[in-house]
Amino acid sequence: MTETTLSLPKSRSRLGLALRRPGFLLGAAIIGFSTLLALFPGLFAPYDPNFIDYTAVGQPPSAAHPFGTDMLGRDAFSRVIWAYRINMQMAILATVFALVIGVTVGALVGYYRGVADMIFGRFVDAIITFPFLVLVIAVVAVLGPGLINMYIAITLVGWVYYARLMRAEIIGQMGNDYAAAGLVMGYSDRRIIFRHLLPNAITPVIVYWMTDMALAILLGSSLGYLGLGAQPPQAEWGVLIAEGRNFITTAWWLSLMPGIAIVLTGLGFSLLGDAMADLLRPRG
């Protein structure tokens, strides 16, 4: 008649385990450094991003201008760094409202089901049928180009994906007896949804959020490239790539360097999301 609990050695905390993973370390390093660049671009950029130097137009990379200069003589390196400010802001602002709206709506329709859930289901089907970019471009076309309108457009379409994921997770968690136990206890719906179901259901959504931030940067740059997002002369990676496009055969670095910045940040968010999935998983 003995009951013993077997448990893993306590010395390896979850964070400790995560820190051993090279993927997590690399992802955290990239995103950490990107955030620093976004917060204090002035500390890292050697020049003002919009300073026009007619004595140095279209120069190839050199010690003074590591990424060369564009056709107006602006320092490409400084512009890529200042663009971190806009593009990292995109990662947050284009996703965070979609996250909040999607999680709330998804949790509610997943919990209550019924007619609202059926309407939601058809609505999601309708949205998902269209390619994401096409819908966003349509919304931007209606609202007019610009960063704020772009955030609104991405949120209007993007929340659906969060809501769909959240709904499925909540329904899965409802199958557990702790949800039934909460009902038998007479707990309010709000308590059951937000204190019991949500913390157990949110992990995949957070992981999706991380990858979605990478997608938001990509999407934001695409719209910037198309002239629907950030507007020149603002330094933004998509805008920078577009500016270099006409000189791609002679000054390829103008488009390549912001492209590399996009790839690196995207990689950072993906690696971080992967590690987050392990960190947030409940044990036992």
């Binding site: 008649m1 009951e3 013993t4 609990t5 448990s7 199958g175 557990n176 007896d177 702790y178 039934a180 136990a181 009902l183 038998v184 206890m185 007479g186 707990y187 308590r191 204190r195 019991h196 913390p199 157990n200 409940p282 044990r283 036992g284």
Partner: protein
């Protein structure tokens, strides 16, 4: 005889399956799993009533309907005379406080992200069982009551064994000081040695706290050990209900006989008594007419195929739903 705490009358519960295309063409209503088909049951204050039956007979559905996790199709559940499904009473939390339930699966019945202490604190504070300042002391008391060490309060469910988790579930149910406990297969997921610990703890608590228990289980020996009275359920109907000792000693319904003879016994003189059951449990989608048991019953006659027997008192030994119960009572 004391007045019943819970009165269940003619309780029906069907889970609709949705109408198929064939149903639509034939213009018939969609099919439904008829889980409960007219349950009449009184739970007397202070007793332990065992509910037994095969898997899929409706035991758990009955337990969940009583605590309002399912809404019955028809029939009533009265607690202290009040209909718990009446519109005004649906959101009444006092009923939730007074009738509590414990679940089968110790791995899913506790929120994996809340510590044992948080789980108990939540129950205490939502129902305002104690002023906030006294809640930690009460949590300690509850842990003591179910014989968990005090440091359990700070641990998450995954740090406990199955038996310990079920004790946390018991403590959670007891936190709100209920009068009735519904135990749905409380120990069937546990090792036999741990089962005994948990069940004995439950019985001891029942005595100390004056609880009424509805004990749903498929383990007959366990039910016999625990219950004062036993109800045997077949396809969502009670086929026999009576005093635990007499029912186990001499069951009157052929189904009870078959069920009991299927249970392994340590007594060598017990061996081979009664008939083995033939056939499968009919689908609750399609319940046979007449006596629902007649397809498998060794004593079935014409009347069994045509008329459904009602539950009636037989030979002062309890109630049986069988046309041949008197005969069985006489001849064994």
């Amino acid at each position: 005889m004391t007045a019943p705490v819970l009165e269940i009358r003619d309780l029906h519960l069907a889970f609709p399956l949705g109408r198929s295309l064939a149903d639509l063409i034939a213009r018939r209503p969609g099919r439904a799993v008829r889980a409960l088909n007219g349950i009449d049951l009184d739970l007397r204050r202070g007793e332990t009533l065992g509910i037994v039956g095969e898997s899929g007979c409706g035991k758990s559905t009955l337990a969940r309907a009583i605590v309002r996790l399912y809404r019955p199709t028809s029939g009533t559940v009265r607690f202290d005379g009040d209909d718990v499904f009446a519109t005004g009473n649906r959101r009444d939390r006092t009923y939730n406080r007074r009738v509590q339930m414990m679940f089968q699966d110790p791995y899913s019945s506790l929120n994996p992200r809340m510590t044992c202490g948080q789980i108990l604190t939540e129950a205490l504070s939502v129902h305002q069982m104690r002023p906030p300042a006294e809640i930690p002391a009460r949590v300690a008391e509850l842990l003591d009551l179910v014989r968990l060490p005090q440091d359990a309060a700070g641990k998450l469910p995954h740090e406990f064994s199955g038996g310990q988790r079920q004790r946390i579930a018991i403590a959670r149910a007891l936190a709100v000081e209920p009068e009735v406990l519904i135990a749905d297969e409380l120990v069937s997921a546990l090792d036999v040695s741990v089962q005994a610990q948990v069940v004995n703890l439950l019985l001891e608590l029942q005595e100390r706290l004056d609880l009424t228990i509805l004990f749903v289980a498929h383990d007959l020996r366990l039910v016999r050990h625990v219950s004062n009275r036993v109800a045997v359920i077949y396809l969502g109907r009670i086929v026999e209900i009576g005093d635990s000792e007499s029912l186990f000693a001499a069951p009157l319904h052929p189904y009870s006989q078959a069920l009991l003879s299927a249970a392994p016994s340590l007594d060598p003189t017990d061996r081979g008594r009664g008939a083995r059951l033939q056939g499968e449990l009919p689908s609750p989608l399609n319940i046979p007419p007449g006596c629902p048991f007649h397809l498998r019953c060794p004593r079935a006659t014409d009347i069994c195929r045509k008329t459904r027997p009602d539950l009636r008192s037989v030979a002062a030994r309890g109630e049986v739903a069988c046309h041949h119960a008197e005969e069985i009572a006489l001849n064994g």
